[in-house]
Symmetry: C2
Subunit: 708 residues, 2 copies
Amino acid sequence: MKHVTHSTSLDALFRPRSVAILGASDDPTRISGRPVRYLLEGGFKGPLYPVNPNRDTVQGLKAYKTLADVPETPDVALLAVPAALTEQAVRECVEKGVKGAVIFSAGYAESGEEGLAIQKRIADVARAGGLRLLGPNCLGIFNPQIGFFGTFTQSLDKEMPGPGPLGIVSQSGAYGSHIAYLARQRGIGINYWITTGNEADVDVAESLEWMAAQDDVKVIMAYVEGVRDGERFRRALALAQANRKPIVMMKVGRSEIGARAASSHTASLAGSDAIYDALFRQYGVHRAATTQEQIDIAYACARGIFPKGDKLGVVTLSGGAGVLISDAAERYGLDVAPMPEAAQTTLKALLPFATVANPVDTTAQALNDMNLLARNMEVILDQGGYDALLGFFSTVPNTRTLSGPLRDAIAKGCERFPDRLIALEMVADAAVVKDYEEAGFLVFEDADRAVAALAALVRFSRAFDRAQAVPAVPAAAPLAGTALSEHAAKALLAQAGIPFLAERMAADARAAGEAADAIGYPVVLKIVSPDIEHKTEIGGVLVGVAHRAGVEAGFATLMERAAGHRPDARIEGVLVAPMAGKGVEVIVGVSRDPVFGPAVMFGLGGVHVEVLKDVTFRLAPFGRDEAERMIDEIRGRALLSGVRGAAPADVDALAELLVKVSEFAAAHRDDVETIDLNPVVALAAGEGVVALDALVVPRAADRAGIEA
Amino acid sequence: MKHVTHSTSLDALFRPRSVAILGASDDPTRISGRPVRYLLEGGFKGPLYPVNPNRDTVQGLKAYKTLADVPETPDVALLAVPAALTEQAVRECVEKGVKGAVIFSAGYAESGEEGLAIQKRIADVARAGGLRLLGPNCLGIFNPQIGFFGTFTQSLDKEMPGPGPLGIVSQSGAYGSHIAYLARQRGIGINYWITTGNEADVDVAESLEWMAAQDDVKVIMAYVEGVRDGERFRRALALAQANRKPIVMMKVGRSEIGARAASSHTASLAGSDAIYDALFRQYGVHRAATTQEQIDIAYACARGIFPKGDKLGVVTLSGGAGVLISDAAERYGLDVAPMPEAAQTTLKALLPFATVANPVDTTAQALNDMNLLARNMEVILDQGGYDALLGFFSTVPNTRTLSGPLRDAIAKGCERFPDRLIALEMVADAAVVKDYEEAGFLVFEDADRAVAALAALVRFSRAFDRAQAVPAVPAAAPLAGTALSEHAAKALLAQAGIPFLAERMAADARAAGEAADAIGYPVVLKIVSPDIEHKTEIGGVLVGVAHRAGVEAGFATLMERAAGHRPDARIEGVLVAPMAGKGVEVIVGVSRDPVFGPAVMFGLGGVHVEVLKDVTFRLAPFGRDEAERMIDEIRGRALLSGVRGAAPADVDALAELLVKVSEFAAAHRDDVETIDLNPVVALAAGEGVVALDALVVPRAADRAGIEA
């Protein structure tokens, strides 16, 4: 199911045939001289047009007084001019018909109101003239395949990155440079690199979408502080998932201080961090906690093998390492499953001194006969049923006599299984590492990092397999922008398939009594008013009312309490409801994220949500699988499986409810602010779920107007 | 409060004046030749006596036919002989009066019953002869200060470690070699290294205790699979804490597979993993999750500066890095506190383009004037009140022109603050890293790893400050080895200061009624029998009995139920108790770990313990501070602070209860198997706590006899 995006307007920025450099300096160490230097050193495969009114040549190239003087229309213009001259330069680009311009200078949206105004003006000029803008306040873009280095980043000073399977998208220029450097150091080539800075036009969402559509991108690293176009960002992630392109994401701003620092760094209207988490889970994006993890996983992805299952075979020269790796595997969710008995017997015959269950500890004695080691690995791969194999070899590959023979033995043991991922833990000099990598192995200096990366590959594999396009839910007729009473909210949600108790509205005491007779005792009575959101706080709910007289008296009590607390409230009457069955109380809610729209929350009731924050989110809408993943994700999941002799809860019905809520929320994406179903009782398996209360808060019409 | 251990009998093993090598080979690549090679290359500062019946010289040294022929009594003998000859060699060592012997060969306890028997016999011979044994099945011991390399580890093949502040204790030879190699690679010198293998005599506990007492050990790395002598291990950790020696621990076997792999690797009787966690928390040991983390933290400790507080100043050249570091600081519990206003004003005057709150983002422009950068760091250290400073410099130190000036600027900015810990994130060649380290900075390639290490140092600092000797609790009169009824258990624990309700035993219905009259209604009635552990399961508890008639009828009901379910049970009567006040239900328990003795468990009641496993442990006994840390450690801690309008619970009284339980458990360390106080109600602050139920299971006399 290969999707192709229709966003091709970044092609010129990523693959220009010709480049002009406005403000190009002859001094290759200056910011305005470095791009010329890098383009020359990188061997750009097309004409370069330095523009400098004061010079005939720039770094040996013929220079032009103005952009207009350039003999052809360059695809891309790099604007290495001061901020004050940028607006004029953008106009000149438009006049010349340039397709893309990169603005390096700072002093725009990040510097205050005035800068923001200039930035908007520049963006308007570009948009009107069909010019795509990168930046301002960015470090640019590069594509080593064609030697295009449209950047002044200092990090290329010592060495230029070569081409390869990696694409990098970063809102921060410094971070983008940092990971590009680390990637090169780790031997991962880069085909495309883009830093989006203030995002006056090209943003991180569009860049990701573009990369996700490229055949020559095998893995994407991204750095994101905040996203403006939530819908496009989501579409980009969905496209990457569908095209089986792993995204390894550094999304910063998780902590409070971090979020503050992020907003001082860019002017992004950031979605809440929990929503980003939800989104990444939904589309199988790996959110890295550390830069090292981000690089490790991108490195592993670059190999292009994504294990189908989570079974990990482990071979070590030391029992201790086997224990360590088993612990790590459990932490990261890989299964160090034992070898089949027959295979263990075979191995034991080969290496009588070995521990053969898995981890297989050959002990250092295996190094005495490399053929045995090779045969040992072959048996493990052939009969163990493992999706990936991790070998722990410590410093052995770095010893002069053993390095080559060990590499060859492992290669021989693995040669019949090219689809299996082979990772090695080893501590060795760079040249030795490269040598082992070229023999086809992933190399990690730390066993824990190897396990973490393998686990991430398994998650990617599963996420790719479940890829589906963002479901389209047609917008429903908008709600009136006023608060809904419980009764009205329930009626609305019931139409959408949310199960409630068979309740009846009663306008007077007698009607309440009749309703209760019909329902059967005991019953619950609740005051109904669009003006009273939290009924229990004013004593507006009576539980376990056992007979008709009680119901009629209760009606009067509720009226008195409502009048006492909120004399102005519009009272619609009293809801008479049966008592709910026994079950596990959960909470389902919807809140509208300003960037990403409605998100559905799920958690267990009471302290689980309020104190333990044991909740999970997904963006609406989503399907049944995603709902099940939500349910399985909460820490208190076991409570739904039946504890202390309770029956297991109806998890199927609960998943169905989550799907329905997500569809309702998506249909009302523009006009619902929040929904609360609290509590929802998950009855015993087969008996369904039932929401006892419902609150729907429409989005105030004026706010909808402002934000839309 | 410098303690000195009295265990000096390892001195000869760690600092021999002369060494014999039994079975020494002339071939320096063989296992039996490598120790000779390493001792020669390491320049051992005393006489070496190779013993080899077939040669006159070994690797250029005069060889002796037998140990008896050696002209003096060597301090240490390395036994590089086959397993079959080891027992005889040990006898010869005893006859010669050797102080310590190292047994390299395998084939003992780890290989089965027969090997275990031989190992025990050898240990008996050594013990009787005053000979200390290291091993068998170990990689030996080394001390680079005197060139003593009593090991055949392959990892010294390319380069020998130099002396330095690190001590390494490892049960696994391969892991010990691995981390020694990594430490050398990271530039950390090693003064002592020991691998204990099968621990026939010298074990990990004694080795740690010895290292903790050495002035020339500043940080200890340890690898542990299981501990046999729990008491000595605990004493060793306490000594290290008192002597302000950080222990960075890799304790493997956390996962189920890991624990299985560990027990196949050694024959340790391992304590449960949760108990190790408790112990490490109690004595301020850092338990590393990964090898990399272990090395990082040892590296940071080696500098010898342990920040007093948790305030972290951050300087970056990029806003993105600041956000990343803020997120990491929150994750690891460091406080990226803002700069005081006045200091911000000063900084803003220095660097108008900078973000100055903290993280301080100087932007790359600060590199244009290194004096400004130096001044900037000085202001942050002088006025920010930070305990440590982290600078993020990415690849800048690796650029030719900026590397030296940047290093000097940072050094200048920090020179007035030698007590402050300065860590730098930078990606650079090894020589550049060394250059910066020699200027006094910790260098990390990854910002997250730097933050993790700094946070560990802060925890060490706090743990050192609260160090106290293991409290001595005299053993109490032992309990009879039979089950106790609830009433008897409560009476016993009440004597130890545990608060219970004012309950009364009643032997008949009338006495129950009178007791209830005296207590006041409503009351709770409970059947009392040493044979009924779980009263609620047989309906043996009646709650909220409101009047005398109900009490008398209830008495009869309980008797009937007991007789119906357990006709053989000895019935002591019925307990009449007042209803407990409202509060938060918690659980306090004691269980006896076979290695470490009684451990106290604390958690919130109900699902918190059973489903969410939100519990914490400490070894008994402990003081008030430790009890408070336990309470603060549980995820649901907020429930004790009052949620949904509830009053905060009496945390002081709860801490006191934990201390009392720990003292009782310690006094009965040999004769109590488990204690359950479930539930304990923590009443509102100032109103105390009260245990509603108590179960004490004494240790069966026969089991106590077997294990003791």
